[in-house]
């Protein structure tokens, strides 16, 4: 699985990550929480090797990622970026089939078998209706699903997702994370997803990692003693003292202590 040690990244002179370390477990979703600018995206990109690291080591399955060929790395780590930004137009299943790149020879390309498999994956994820539709015409939620399908196609040991649900509607967020969880459990893959909403991180994460000021403020697993208490303390630490964290019916509810009185309901 993925193991990160003492990851330190400087961007434009500023220390964005300062000795970050964690490990992913197979079949578990690790949710990364943090304020804007806490270094969540930087963390993913540094792990993937897109940003120069000042210090630190990233290993997958015991092997140093820097020493692996691009194809071998792609079999260890799949990546779902924040936005689809393809300049060209590809049908969804063709896009998904590109997940097979790491398994193809240097000069070969996905054939009929890969395209069929891509279609099957889309069907399994409940997105059969995307087949044949161009990526740039899909909604944000549909694009996310196509990305998830591509990651499934890539069949990597670990999955890194950058804000996969931030731009989605309420129900689509839950649908996406449900399907992500199902895949991660079945494949026994490691999964690291940056998530904005603590409610979702609590609902779908087996482990929560809070990044603050470039360091890991909290690394707590659901199975740890006093998980909820530590999570609540961590959230109050990053969101400030006016944050109210409650756990009700197995869900996390966040509140905010307002400065003034709440808007009154109209009487009657």
């Amino acid at each position: 699985m993925l193991k990160v040690d003492h990851l330190t990244v400087r961007r434009g002179g500023r220390l964005v990550l300062d000795g970050v370390g964690f490990a992913l477990c197979p079949g578990e979703v690790t949710a990364v929480l943090g304020l804007n600018g806490a270094g969540k995206t930087t963390l993913l990109k540094a792990v993937l090797g897109f940003l120069p690291r000042e210090a630190g080591k990233v290993t997958a399955g015991g092997r140093d990622l820097d020493r692996l060929s691009p194809a071998d790395r792609a079999r260890k780590l799949a990546y779902v970026p924040q936005l689809y930004d393809g300049g060209f137009r590809y049908p969804a299943e063709e896009f998904v089939s590109m997940g097979a790149t790491a398994y193809l020879g240097a000069f070969s390309r996905p054939g009929r078998a890969e395209l069929r498999r891509a279609g099957e994956i889309l069907e399994e994820l409940g997105c059969g209706h995307l087949i044949g539709r161009p990526m740039d015409r899909l909604s944000g939620g549909e694009q996310r699903m196509a990305y998830l399908a591509r990651a499934v196609m890539q069949d990597a040991d670990c999955l890194l997702l950058d804000e996969p649900v931030s731009s989605l509607d309420f129900s689509r967020q839950h649908l996406f994370l449900e399907r992500l969880r199902r895949y991660v459990e079945r494949r026994r893959a490691g999964c690291l997803a940056t998530i904005h909403a603590p409610e979702l991180a609590y609902a779908y994460g087996d482990r929560v990692l809070i990044l603050h000021g470039g360091r890991v403020l909290l690394d707590a697993a659901r199975t740890d003693p006093d998980y909820e208490g530590r999570l609540a303390a961590g959230l109050e630490a990053i969101y400030g003292p006016r944050t109210r964290v409650r756990f009700r019916d197995g869900a996390l509810a966040l509140g905010w202590e307002r400065a003034g009185p709440a808007p009154r309901r109209r009487p009657g």
Partner: protein
């Protein structure tokens, strides 16, 4: 549907090839063609014109048309921008500087012209890459900026050299070269450029799927298992060889590399790997038609860039207007 578009393109290429072989100042009829091919016209002027002038010129033109369009397609993919021309990294400017130097300082012999313009194009692109590297940071933006800088420098050099040139003789030769023409195409030239263009095209054909993945962006391509830097360098290198080699025999042929891939995508549909080959076929046909017009419209030859620019611009405008009408208002 898919098969039909391939058949159509093949027929278009065959027709323009035939047209280019028959038309010109010494027109040949289909009957002449039959005589020549069956050997009944052996030793005649007709046969000489056909084999030594027309077929050679047609082959060179077709090869250059395909090469320029393919290079445009590759650059558009690399820069993830469907309206980039193969000149983004300054290849044409550099080739022009080389060619003008050959005209001014080495008497403008055919061999010198070809060698210098090819070298000028390749060197300019290499300098663009080095400059982009020196700037650091976002690769694509830097490459475009470096291309603009090198293009501007080449332009300055072109103007300076033209200013130095003898207006009575050299200047006209320079201007003629800058407007492009296939009038000097020959079997020798084909022998000179085919060994450059065919291997470069073959490498690009092998890399076309990797190029397609690169259009998703560097980071995504890398995360999917593509060795981004080597693939990109190979693609830029091969595309540069394609343009530099074709420009070295014909002079500057503008617009083909920009317009053909765009047109192909727009008319035949966005399908990356198919568009790759469609660009080659369509580019060869378009340049053959332009060259045929260049030598048959007026008693004297018209520089080809006048026609390619005109045809290209008219096509693009007509197409965009047509498409806008066809689309539902939103």
């Amino acid at each position: 549907m898919r098969k039909r578009s391939w058949l159509g393109l093949a027929a278009l290429l065959a027709a323009s090839f035939l047209l280019s072989c028959l038309c010109g100042r010494y027109p040949l009829s289909p009957a002449d063609l039959w005589d020549i091919l069956s050997g009944r016209a052996a030793g005649t002027m007709r046969e000489n014109v056909f084999w030594n002038i027309r077929v050679a010129r047609t082959c060179v033109t077709a090869l250059c048309g395909g090469a320029l369009s393919l290079a445009g397609f590759v650059y558009q993919g690399l820069f993830r921008n469907p309206l980039v021309s193969p000149d983004v990294l300054g290849v044409s400017g550099g080739a022009s500087v080389g060619a003008i130097c050959a005209i001014l300082f080495w008497g403008g012999s055919v061999a010198a012209l070809q060698l210098f313009s090819f070298a000028g194009g390749v060197v300019t692109v290499a300098l663009s890459l080095l400059l982009a590297r020196a700037i650091g940071g976002n690769r694509y933006f830097n490459l475009i900026v470096s291309g603009i800088i090198l293009g501007a420098l080449a332009n300055a050099a072109i103007m300076a050299l033209k200013y130095m040139a003898d207006p009575a003789q050299q200047l006209a030769v320079i201007d003629y070269w800058l407007m492009g023409s296939f009038s000097l195409a020959s079997w020798d030239k084909l022998r000179a450029i085919a060994p450059l263009i065919l291997p470069a095209g073959a490498v690009l054909t092998l890399l076309r799927y990797r190029l397609k993945v690169l259009t998703l962006g560097d980071e995504e391509a890398a995360s999917l298992g593509v060795a981004v830097a080597p693939v990109r360098l190979a693609c830029i290198g091969c595309a540069t060889v394609l343009v530099a080699a074709s420009v070295s025999v014909s002079g500057i042929v503008s617009w083909v590399g920009l317009i053909v891939p765009h047109l192909v995508r727009a008319v035949l549909g966005d399908r990356f790997e198919a568009n790759f080959f469609q660009s080659i076929l369509c580019g060869a046909s378009l340049l053959l038609v332009a060259d045929t017009l260049a030598r048959s419209l007026l008693p004297s030859e018209i520089p080809i860039s006048i026609l390619t620019s005109f045809i290209g611009a008219a096509f693009l405008a007509a197409f965009l207007i047509h498409r806008k009408r066809g689309e539902r208002p939103c």
